[in-house]
């Protein structure tokens, strides 16, 4: 089932996403998630995997055996950023 959106306008970010995924932004917005998932699985040749990328993203109070403070999460992120050239 697809949804109509007359007010849909394409931004520069939309165009970049469309280019990198090889699909039009209308398709990406209008296609149900299960269909997008099936496309990715077919293209990658395997089932979708669920991973945890904490502390890059997310919050410390979910599925953790201890709380990770905001400062610790920010420090981990900063550490990764430091690997990029100044």
């Amino acid at each position: 089932m697809h949804y109509e959106d007359d007010a849909m306008t394409e931004t520069l970010i939309d165009r970049t996403i469309a280019e990198s995924t090889g699909r039009s932004i209308e398709y990406l917005k209008n296609t149900p998630l299960d269909e997008l998932r099936a496309n990715a699985e077919k293209k990658r040749g395997g089932p979708l995997k669920f991973v945890s990328l904490f502390p890059w993203i997310g919050r410390g109070n979910m599925m953790r055996d201890h709380l990770v403070s905001h400062e610790e999460a920010v420090a981990a992120y900063d550490d990764a950023i430091r690997r990029l050239p100044k």
């Binding site: 990406l28 293209k43 669920f50 991973v51 990328l53 950023i81 990029l84």
Partner: protein, 209 residues
């Protein structure tokens, strides 16, 4: 709740109705989610944010909580999910950059490739730091949009890095050259080591005899 026809609010403004919250989801979150989906590895943290947003929304009907409060809380979760998606793409960029660092890319285009690469990565680094520090700013329409705009600019550069540098056709050539150079160095090291030890043995033999 208002419907889409009753509400013409753009997704660039802070959502104050269900329709504009849906606009935020479709215009900002779903395209990025689709991009992340192409990895075929879905971070649970991204899914949790949308689940949390849905939970807040449902409370308006289930527990008669204020519509504006529920929309406000849900919007914050969707916003967080959008920024998380940008951070995932940044992580991919950092990983790809580190992979390029293991190759002697100075061989490409007389060093111009390296120079441009470092310049772009420096812009990505500065841009992402600036975007991240603006994430908490929700004061007014400008505050709401600031981090979206900054992350959007960083995203353009990350895709430019992937397209122009990471999958640059010259990378494979440089990879082969780096590999050949590395074997040549090892060969030279072996020959020098072997010759030196031969000479040392001979000198010891001369001294002792």
């Amino acid at each position: 709740m208002t419907t889409q026809s009753e509400d013409s609010q753009s997704s660039d403004e802070y959502p104050q109705s269900f329709a504009s919250l849906v606009g935020l989801y479709y215009d900002k979150y779903k395209p990025l989610y689709s991009r992340i989906q192409t990895f075929n590895e879905m971070p649970v943290e991204l899914v949790f944010e949308v689940a949390a947003a849905w939970d807040h929304l449902s409370r308006h009907w289930r527990f008669n909580e204020s519509e504006s409060d529920c929309i406000d809380k849900a919007a914050r979760h969707i916003k967080r999910a959008v920024f998380d998606a940008y951070k995932l793409l940044l992580k991919q960029t950092v990983d790809e950059y580190e992979e390029l660092n293991r190759i002697n890319t100075s061989l490409i285009d007389n060093g111009h490739f390296d120079k441009q690469l470092r310049l772009l990565m420096s812009e990505i680094r500065d841009g992402s730091v600036q975007a991240r520090t603006s994430e908490g700013d929700t004061a007014g329409a400008d505050g709401w949009n600031k981090a979206f705009t900054l992350w959007g600019n960083v995203y353009q550069k990350m895709e430019k890095f992937h397209k122009d540098f990471y999958i640059n056709p010259n990378i494979e050539w440089a990879r082969r050259k780096t590999s050949m150079f590395s074997w040549k160095l090892r060969g030279e090291g072996f020959v020098i080591g072997f010759t030196t030890s031969l000479l040392a043995t001979y000198l010891v033999y001369l001294c002792c005899s």
